[in-house]
Amino acid sequence: MGVYVHIPFCARKCHYCDFHSIVVGEADFPGLVDSYLVSLRREALYYRKLWANGPLDSLFFGGGTPTLIPPEKLAQLIAFLLAELPFTSDPEVTIEANPQSVTPQGAELLAGAGVNRVSLGAQAFQNELLTAIGRLHRAEDIGASVRSLRSAGIREINLDLMFGLPGQDLAHWRATLEAALALEPTHLSCYALILEPGTPLASWHEQGLVELPGEDEQADMYQLAREVLQGAGYEHYEISNFCLPGHRCRHNLLYWHNLPFIGLGSGATGYLGGCRYQNAPDVEGYIRSWAEGKPPYLTWEEVGRDQEMDETMMVGMRLLEGVSEAEFRRRFQVSLREVYGEAVEQLLQQGLAEEKDGRLRVTELGLFLENRVSAAFLR
């Protein structure tokens, strides 16, 4: 179980991004950003009282761009959270970073503060593709960042890569995969570009200004990622995630196992005590709300047993190892087949899922059509 901290600040918004973040400049430090960091502490103390789900073993900073916060301030925040919340003695502490924002000194400070895993938003190794999606870094920044992190002693390094980008072809993608492998990361995430309504890229696409690889080409890219990365000894363990054996991301696993976590920050989601909440994506509102000691919920829902089962299957089937039938029975005191007999039968028949070693999991076909598998468990 773990803690997610959302840092909703960016130096610039990428063209495809619909995650909650606001663009901040020098002028916003210390004012807005410092107040935000104070609010995060208040929120952490609020949930410390409510948390009753056992020890925490992961802490994840996502964004936005967490590394936009000066490293010494981040270090203070991490130290505070590790001290005040019931963490185990060796938690996984991950921070998302953009390649241009990682400096050798910054890396040292982060490592000193307890960060042991960094997820770099590399996305692609072709500058024209990076420009097309509005990234600020250059391809050469990626290697430099990885080296800085390594020399600071950070061993767990993930590279985020994207496929289906405007102007990207299979050759670009192969080159990206190979360049990434050359940096020997312990973990790789391969995400498909999804056009989200309201983003610049979506509106350009609608106006016919950008062309994107077609559905078949995207499938080919996904297939290629599997071949290249598995060939290099990486395990494909979740739809979008690959790692060297023994280097799975502890934090993301807790999502896929549908376990409780505390979410801190503007726009963050959390799941504890049988309830899911989402904070309003509004930085100033968030600060005001915690100044009064109130959680700034946008939504709050109790998750009933049926919904918990559905969601456990929905996210669990994203893992290639699937869902353990014994684990399901232990958690819900009922067999998976009893609840989802018909859906499972259909998935088996359609060749989208298979049963092996007491686990229900996707087949190769089901992997490519995973929405159908997950949707089958929604009642």
């Binding site: 498909a192 996904y222 739809i239 989601t269 899911r276 989402q278 559905d310 059509l369 929405n371």
Partner: protein, 597 residues
Amino acid sequence: MVQKNIRNFCIIAHIDHGKSTLADRILEATEAVSKREMTEQVLDSMELERERGITIKLKAVRLIYRAQDGEEYILNLIDTPGHVDFSYEVSRSLAACEGALLVVDASQGVEAQTLANLYLALEHDLEIIPVINKIDLPNADPERVKRELEDVGLSAEEAVLVSARTGQGIDQVLQAIVERIPPPRGDAAAPTRAMIFDSHYDQYRGAVAYARVVDGTIKLGDTIQMMSTGRQFEVTELGVLQPGFRPVQALGPGEVGCIMASMKDVRDTRVGDTITTAHNPAAEPLPGYRPAKPMVYCGLYPVVNEEYTLLRDALDKLQLNDAALTYEAESSAALGFGYRCGFLGLLHMEIVQERLEREFDLNLITTAPSVVYRVVLKDGTVKEIDNPTALPPMTHVEHIEEPFVRATVLVPDEFIGAVMEVCQERRGTFITMEYITPERARLEYDLPLAEILMDFFDRLKSRTKGYASLDYEFIGYRQSDVVKLDILLNGNPVDALSIIVHRDKAMARGRALAEKLKEVIPRQQFEVPIQAAIGSKIIARETVRALRKDVLAKCYGGDVSRKRKLLEKQKEGKKRMKSLGNVEVPQEAFMAILKVD
């Protein structure tokens, strides 16, 4: 009121030439008198309104008008439907009148429906008062319109120039109605005969008949008899619309009103039928009645089989108010249980479909509309086929006949070529062409009704920059070389996608239909071949390639709710599709044939 002071009239016009605005102005101009009349009646009618809430539609409005001669006249304005699907209903409304206002737009001039309505009115010996409307518009050209009226045999001198928008000329129109339209001639002493020209269903009173009394009198409490069926009912309420409902004791010759007699649905009050009295029945009905005969059929199926009984209940309810709607249960191998429904035309079909979906919240699949084919078998028997799947094996068939219509198209002369092309593409036979003015031509073509159903009017409009106007009437059956075109999905024939087409068109339609289906059928988990076939011969083939990727490979992290919503939305979309075997087919696929050419 004495018969000589009654005038029964209607307003006829091409669409958008200002018929309803003119009607509104006429109502307003006569309102003062009507209002005084109404207040006298308020006490009588209030109780009725309080009790049940009146839902009477203004099918016929009684107006009181004090003419220049100082006398009061009753002007009955009878409404006419405005679409070619309902031409029979129009003819019955005209038959209830002695005169008609023919409204022509001062800038558009005479159009196809102007003419069609004019000829229909002349057939009923109506006095025609030409009304040139919208004379206040800058592009009005009343002189040109007058010439066009002369060209079609009307007296331009008698035309009244009005602007229904500003009210200019309305008094002259009312005066012309009184002076030029003859009073009704009917025999008060003869056995009662009244013609039903409209009806509707009221949930408290049952069917309400709108009728014009020709001879004799209908009184409250009378036992009336419908001459087409012999069914008898006791008159419980009689009234006129002024425009509020005003009860009356009796309706005499020449009068127009509504009759309620505990009739359970509108099939008891068929448009065109003659009402007589049981105690002194008329020997002969009034001429011109024919039962409503559907011209177009389609299958209606619930997307979810469980909604079948809901669909049946909804059709039962709609039929109470729509005598022209017919339906009978049928089943399709592909779609399960549904109903074969008959309609007067495409518009009627769309109205019914929309009401079923909107008012009854049903999710329906509509199969492609079909006309009724007459199949003459080798043994000499004749079968009427309204569903392509019912076509007997061709080895048993001597020949097939299909319904034809005579279409009249009015168009500026620069588009004559385009109209001819469209009609010829649609298997039309040229009948005649004449210039009604130096710039405007009138073309007549005989066309198979089936071709009119296929988006004909839209096509005609688009090829003539919107200038062509169309009217048509059924003229009978003609022998035709038609064949059944089948569609196979994944190798299995889908009966609901079969159509009957002319042999010369089969190849092209089959290819176009297969292409269209490829567009509308989403990619599935496996490849889906689409084939078009005539008998065992495949004439076209397309393939919907297998879906290769359907996965949220994006980092939504712990946002489980968002993931869930995305998947639920996707699932919802799938529910609106019909699963045929293992192929998911969206509703629009069954209407795809209407979108090809």
